[in-house]
């Protein structure tokens, strides 16, 4: 342990040394650059020499320290393992259907836990304070402030309203429009609901990002497990019981079979004659273009349908319901049909199973997320009157008041509808397609039926369903705070449906794929969805004027402007403290120290980069706080200014 502490102390000394150097040579930019490079090189050399020179005893001492850390980590892992949800089910699935299918269920479990924890975050900071405080009545009614909610009359209307979030569900905790509190009636107790609303949304996104990254990084560095590694180190001697042993044996068998098959496929491909290779590669290129063609056709269909649905929105009853759900239906139809076609394409391409899965994922995620993006774009252009022919509606209230009296609730309703529809379709397919298919295949022995056969559990399309559902929830979380909780329930129902269907209706896959790379790609694809939701969040927070008639931001110019306003309302001492925390003198050493704990070599590289353009980083951060949408071009401008200044000072000092 002593040796470990001493090692870290050296890092700290070097960082402080770098810092002193920087301040001493403040005027001489080129001097800093060369100095930092030299110092980082020296540091790396020192570390290498130290490791070579350390005697066996100290290595033993540090080994004991590492042992204790490892024991602690194992104990923590065992503790968490005990609380792990659905552990036995996932193990059974892995043993019976292979690692590939198991990775889908592990991913689903991760999303359930993520949504559940997010719900607590939102409930704690937004729901419960709103519940505790009284509602505040608007003053000065204005034309823009009118917010009329349709009343629910007939019985069947209740069901339609439940499914689409209108009527009795619209003005409730479910949607943004209900959170009306901006000022407190009681002066002694102050809780800034608008600020809490925004910051909770921002932290929710940051929390999800951190969870995804921490989950994907270990998967990246597990390294290649060769055959000898699997065979010599694969067995777990603490496995108890016949069932667990059999499952473990099956897992190892699957792993070996996957690797052996990929290898024989590679050898087979390498053995092909040149002409066959050319044919294969040209087929692959052709199939790629074909898949892009399918995806493009689906996009166009969704765009046309969404326009049609928005224009014809006024009809009532069942027809109105169908028109309301038309974009969702077209999107879901596209999401069923196009991956099927892409599967048939994959048969022609003849990649290895792992590559096929990754390609199927990437193609279909392109389709799913951009079709969702088209829907959102259409919705937002309706709200802000983006094409000029509807400009008349937006001049009064800066958003389209005629159609969207409370546009945030409307967006929340769209996302709610997408989620509910997705759940309904999954349950309907489960009950009405998969079970009958199995009954027909088992009882009818005619040739075409047997050729179709029992279904196989297709992992990529199922994973995309999850990513799509989660992206919808992320987009809608700002406008529908209870959506993560609804999504948790939805995913729990989905877990049980998929598990039952897997065991009752599916046949075991003829070949399985490697689960470690696929799990990493699931998270990468989920990250794409997160990126789309973040773009939507930033745009909504900073560009569109909030509704006058509902919600906590009806008196602000943009939702984000609440944050700087609240910041400047703080006392001077607090403001100065926060400025200090955000300034160079505090944040750079703190940042460097935190990097110490994680990686050794990366510190030097990063310190060099940061110290080269400190002004730019600081300047950009402050500007970003006031206008997040212009963050990008502000950073670029300030960076180029910096470089120009440096160049000038360097020239003048030379």
């Amino acid at each position: 342990m002593y040796i470990l502490c001493k090692g870290y102390l050296i890092h700290v000394y070097l960082i402080i040394l770098l810092y002193i150097v920087y301040f001493k040579l403040l005027g001489n930019c080129e001097g800093i650059l060369s100095c930092c490079n030299i110092i980082s090189l020296l540091y790396v050399l020192h570390r290498e020499v130290q490791q070579m020179r350390s005697p066996a005893f100290s290595r033993d001492v540090s080994w004991r320290g590492r042992q204790m850390l490892r024991k602690l980590r194992n104990k923590c892992k065992e503790f968490l393992y005990f609380f792990s949800l659905w552990r036995k089910s996932v193990q059974m699935i892995g043993g019976n259907f292979g690692g590939g299918v198991q990775s889908y269920f592990v991913f689903l479990r991760f999303l359930v836990v993520l949504n559940f924890v997010s719900f607590f975050l939102i409930a704690g900071f937004v729901l419960i304070p709103t519940f505790c405080l009284l509602c505040f009545i608007f003053s000065n009614p204005d034309e823009c402030k009118v917010y009329e909610v349709k009343n629910t009359t007939e019985i069947y209307q209740y069901l339609l309203d439940f499914l689409s979030g209108t009527g009795f569900m619209e003005y409730s905790y479910l949607f943004y429009g209900y959170y009306n509190i901006t000022e407190m009636p009681n002066r002694d107790f102050f809780y800034n609901i608008p600020l809490a609303y925004i910051l909770t949304a921002v932290f929710y996104f940051a929390f999800c990002l951190i969870c995804m990254i921490t989950r994907s990084v270990p998967r990246l560095s597990t390294g290649v497990s060769s055959y000898s590694m699997i065979v010599f180190t694969g067995w777990d001697y603490s496995c108890l019981g016949d069932r667990a042993t059999k499952l473990k044996q099956k897992n190892i068998l699957y792993q070996l079979q996957v690797d052996l098959e990929e290898e024989s496929r590679k050898r087979h491909e390498a053995d092909l004659s040149t002409s066959k290779k050319v044919i294969l590669y040209s087929l692959r290129v052709l199939m790629t273009f074909l898949s892009f063609g399918f995806i493009g056709g689906a996009f166009y269909g969704i765009y046309v349908t969404t326009q049609f649905s928005q224009v014809n929105d006024v009809k009532q009853g069942i027809l109105g319901f169908i028109i309301q759900y038309l974009p969702s239906m077209v999107i879901t139809a596209g999401n069923f049909v196009v991956p099927l076609l892409c599967d048939k394409i994959a048969l022609v391409e003849q990649y290895s199973p792992s590559t096929t899965i990754i390609l199927a994922l990437l193609r279909a995620v392109f389709l799913r997320l951009v079709s969702l993006g088209v829907l959102l774009y259409t919705l937002w252009s309706q709200i802000t009157c983006y094409p000029d022919e509807l400009k008349g509606n937006c001049t009064l209230c800066e958003y389209n008041n005629n159609e969207f009296q409370c546009w945030e609730t409307r967006v929340g309703q769209e996302m709610y509808k997408l989620t509910m529809f997705d759940l309904l379709i999954n349950v309907a397919v489960f009950l009405l397609v998969e079970f009958p298919r199995r009954l027909v295949v088992d009882n009818c022995s005619c040739k075409p039926v047997q050729w179709v056969g029992r279904q196989e559990f297709v992992v990529p399309s199922n994973v995309l369903g999850l990513v799509y559902g989660q992206t919808v929830v992320w987009v809608g979380a700002l406008f529908c705070p209870l959506l993560p909780a609804i999504n948790t329930l939805k995913f729990v129902i989905l877990f049980y449906c998929k598990k039952i269907t897997l065991f009752q209706n599916c046949r075991p896959a003829l070949r399985t794929f490697r689960s470690t790379t696929s799990t990493f790609f699931f998270l990468v694809v989920l990250l794409f969805g997160w990126g789309l939701a973040t773009v939507v969040l930033i745009y909504s927070l900073s560009e569109i004027r909030p509704s006058y008639g509902c919600g906590p931001f009806h008196s602000s110019s943009t939702m984000w402007s609440t944050v700087p306003d609240s910041f400047y309302n703080l006392s001077n001492v607090t403001q100065e403290f926060l400025f200090f925390v955000g300034s160079q003198a505090f944040s750079i050493p703190l940042f460097a120290l935190s990097m110490c704990v994680t990686s050794q070599y990366a510190i030097c590289v990063m310190m060099t980069c940061i110290l080269n353009s400190p002004y730019c980083a600081f300047h950009g951060v402050i500007l970003c706080l006031s206008s997040p949408w212009q963050c990008g071009d502000v950073l670029c401008r300030s960076f180029s200014n910096c470089l120009w200044e440096k160049h000038c000072t360097a020239k003048s000092s030379a």
């Binding site: 042992q67 490892r70 024991k71 194992n74 060769s226 055959y227 000898s228 590694m229 065979v231 010599f232 180190t233 694969g234 067995w235 777990d236 001697y237 603490s238 496995c239 108890l240 019981g241 016949d242 667990a244 042993t245 059999k246 044996q249 099956k250 190892i252 068998l253 070996l256 079979q257 052996l260 290898e263 024989s264």
Partner: protein
């Protein structure tokens, strides 16, 4: 230095603690479980041997595919029947304990995998090893071509001196690259 009737003396306890990686509680628990395996008349004997058949009824070993090999490796009997004395049993638990080093564990793992006890892992040993690992049931088994391919791949990766077998140092070289080996090579009562 042997075990007394049904209780360990203080000197033996501290001696065992010095010689193995086990703690006092683990040694006492091991003694309790071992004496449960013995017949009534054997309990009073010094250096009583428990036969392999009874050792493999322990729940920690019952479903382990390597249980016979483990007993054989740690047994000190002249008849090579896999029977263990209490001290052999402690050796076993010590090698499989949390605090044993990587060298000890890899040494014993090598001996367990060496089914014909000739000091190297040749093709027959590797085939038996793979069959133990994958279970050998009729419906889920590697085909003979897959098995041949697998064994040749293993030899290609780990046989550095290209003599067609894997010796102890080559084996330890492979093991040292695995971060999970030490935590998976563990049996705790």
């Amino acid at each position: 230095m042997g075990t007394t009737a049904s209780q360990l003396s203080k000197e033996s306890l501290s001696e065992y603690q010095e010689l193995t990686f086990l703690t006092k509680q683990e040694i006492l628990l091991a003694h309790k479980r071992f004496t449960e395996l013995l017949e009534k008349h054997e309990k009073q004997q010094i250096d009583a041997r428990a036969p392999m058949g009874r050792i493999t009824t322990l729940p920690e070993l019952k479903s382990n595919p390597f249980k016979e090999r483990i007993c054989q490796v740690f047994s000190t009997s002249e008849q090579k029947d896999g029977s263990l004395t209490f001290e052999d049993f402690l050796d076993l638990l010590s090698a499989f304990s949390d605090s044993a080093t990587l060298e000890i564990k890899s040494h014993y793992a090598f001996r367990i995998f060496d089914f014909d006890d000739d000091g190297t892992l040749d093709c027959a040993d590797l085939e038996k090893l793979v069959n133990c690992l994958t279970g050998e049931t009729n419906d889920a088994k590697l085909s003979s071509t897959e098995m041949k391919q697998l064994i040749s791949n293993i030899l290609e990766e780990s046989d550095i001196d290209k003599d067609g077998t894997v010796n102890l140092s080559e084996f330890q070289h492979v093991i040292s690259r695995s971060p999970d080996f030490v935590s998976s090579f563990k049996i705790v009562l």
